[in-house]
């Protein structure tokens, strides 16, 4: 999987392909990791431990702290692979990495997004420094 990292780190897991962009704020419950945006096609699924694959970020700028809270609480994804860069999600993962250095959630943009949606698992490995 060729990606460009927005937040570098190692993460692997089964993919959770989201058909539409998801706003974490109002869309994910940090206590359970469940998608609670009832209008979202993947409502009711749990993000925990998955590599989220979604086309773009969406909506509220409070999504940064909801993602950070998911990462803190251990309900967050193993990583996020996007179709286009999203600063709001990158920031949530970046701050979580500052506050909780043992819990890294890499965020990356796929060079070939369609290909990322086709695979069952993804291993995110940062480029050698």
């Amino acid at each position: 999987m060729d990606v460009t990292f927005l937040v570098a780190g190692t993460g692997s897991g089964p993919t959770l392909v989201l058909d539409e962009p998801l706003s974490f704020w109002g869309g994910v419950d940090p206590a359970s990791g469940m998608i609670v945006d009832q209008a979202h096609p993947q409502a009711g699924l749990t993000i925990t431990g998955h590599i989220i694959v979604m086309p773009a970020g969406r909506g509220s700028s409070s999504s940064s702290s909801v993602l950070a809270e998911c990462i803190r609480a251990g309900t967050g994804p193993a990583g996020i692979v996007l179709g286009e860069a999203d600063p709001i999600l990158a920031l949530g993962a970046l701050v979580a990495a500052e506050l909780y250095p043992d819990r890294i959630c890499p965020v990356a943009v796929a060079d070939d997004y369609e290909a990322a949606t086709m695979v069952g698992t993804i291993d995110l490995v940062p480029p050698a420094a």
């Binding site: 704020w25 109002g26 909506g59 409070s62 702290s65 950070a68 600063p87 990158a90 920031l91 500052e98």
Partner: protein, 387 residues
């Protein structure tokens, strides 16, 4: 500064730029991570005038808040952490309703999606789509990445929404702007939308449109031909080969139906206005629409503490039974009793987020429909509002 630089890398910026103002939305309590971050700021000081977004508490009406004491205590610690670094306790999602607002061309670092889109589109100020954390990091460093909507090349229209086929009557209503915002947000992708065919629009209507567009999509800037300061002309758009979407009443109806609950299945329990925070003009309109009639349902209206003070007519609304909420909003914290039935709102943003945030499904209506429902005690729909 590590956070500002990290974001600069994530957004492909090669340099940082100076900002003249910041708006922080990290003061809403989203869990322990919010507070862990704010505590790291202790000892720092904002370098630019900084306003604060809604919190999880209403300090003017504390009895409204139903969350447990522990959560309230943490929410208060979070608010105190941000005022301690020198940010103004404005507690509003509509900082542009303040006397001091950014000027055309100013580079600013604002969080809160509806405020971002207003600043870029209506004021012509320049802010990226910032979120929690970067807002505070930018405020204390006075710097932001030179990327995204700070740069000319990212502010040009990329898709056109043509509403010239719709009736003039429809295009004067606030509710039209809410639903148009949903269409624009859902269909713009990552492009900057330009709207053509609106003859007049108030600032409140532009606020409503932007908030809806930023909820349904990632819109941080829109242009409205003949209305907003950086909009291209109709001739420029005609000459361009941008994708065009003709907005029809069918398109508006399906957008409204998609987020609006079906009002037939459950009794209506409460009505929610003021997302984003109402202006003095909107408060005037609410009061005149009520026309002195008392209400049978709980009707909440959210506004900024400074707007409420300047308006000066809180008691007239309270006397009719209206609950006024400041410093926060009814869909971001625990105010509405559980099991109180379906909700109704004039805000597309409220309708979008309330089901996930507080478990309430909402019917999206015009202000008039909302008020008539609150007065009569049951759901009132007026189809003439939507054609």
């Amino acid at each position: 500064m590590r956070i500002v630089s990290g974001l600069a890398r994530a957004s492909g910026a090669r340099r940082l730029l100076d900002i003249s103002a910041a708006h922080i939305d990290g003061c809403l309590y989203n869990g322990e991570a919010s507070l862990d971050f704010a505590k790291r700021l202790a000892g720092a000081r904002v370098r630019v005038p900084t306003t604060l977004n809604v919190s999880s508490l209403d300090l003017l009406h504390p009895d409204l808040i139903r969350s447990d004491p522990e959560t309230q205590s943490r929410a208060r610690q979070l608010m105190d952490a941000y005022t301690a670094i020198g940010a103004r306790p404005t507690w509003t999602c509509a900082p542009y309703q303040d006397l001091t607002r950014p000027a055309f061309g100013d580079h600013i670092a604002w969080a809160e999606s509806s405020a971002i889109v207003f600043a870029n589109s209506v004021l012509g100020a320049r802010t990226g789509r910032y979120g929690d954390f970067i807002d505070a990091a930018a405020a204390v460093t006075g710097r932001a990445p030179a990327a995204g909507l700070h740069l000319d090349e990212n502010r040009r229209a990329g898709i056109v929404f043509d509403v010239s086929g719709l009736s003039t009557g429809l295009k004067q209503r606030d509710a039209f702007f809410a639903v148009l915002g949903l269409v624009v947000g859902a269909r713009s992708g990552g492009l900057v939308p330009a709207i053509v065919g609106v003859d007049t629009a108030t600032e409140d209507q532009l606020k409503i449109l932007g908030a809806a567009a930023a909820s349904a999509g990632s819109v941080g800037l829109f242009h409205m031909v003949g209305i907003t300061p950086e909009a291209p002309t109709t001739n420029q758009l005609t000459a361009s080969e941008l994708p065009q979407i003709m907005v029809t009443t069918d398109l508006l109806r399906s957008a409204r139906q998609r987020i609006s609950a079906d009002g037939g299945v459950s009794h209506l329990g409460s009505v929610h206005l003021g997302t984003p925070h109402y202006s003095t003009n909107q408060l005037d309109h609410l009061l005149s629409t009520l026309g002195g009639r008392p209400i049978r349902l709980s009707l909440y209206v959210s506004t900024g503490r400074d707007v409420l003070k300047a308006w000066g007519r809180e008691e007239e609304l309270s006397a009719l039974g209206v609950t006024i909420v400041t410093d926060t909003c009814t869909y971001v914290t625990s105010i509405v009793p559980l099991g109180s039935g379906m909700a109704m709102t004039d805000s597309a943003k409220w309708a979008y987020y309330a089901p996930g945030n507080i478990g309430l499904q909402a019917v999206l209506g015009s202000v008039e429909e909302c008020v008539e429902s609150a007065v009569s005690g049951h759901l009132v729909k007026r189809d003439d509002q939507w054609t």
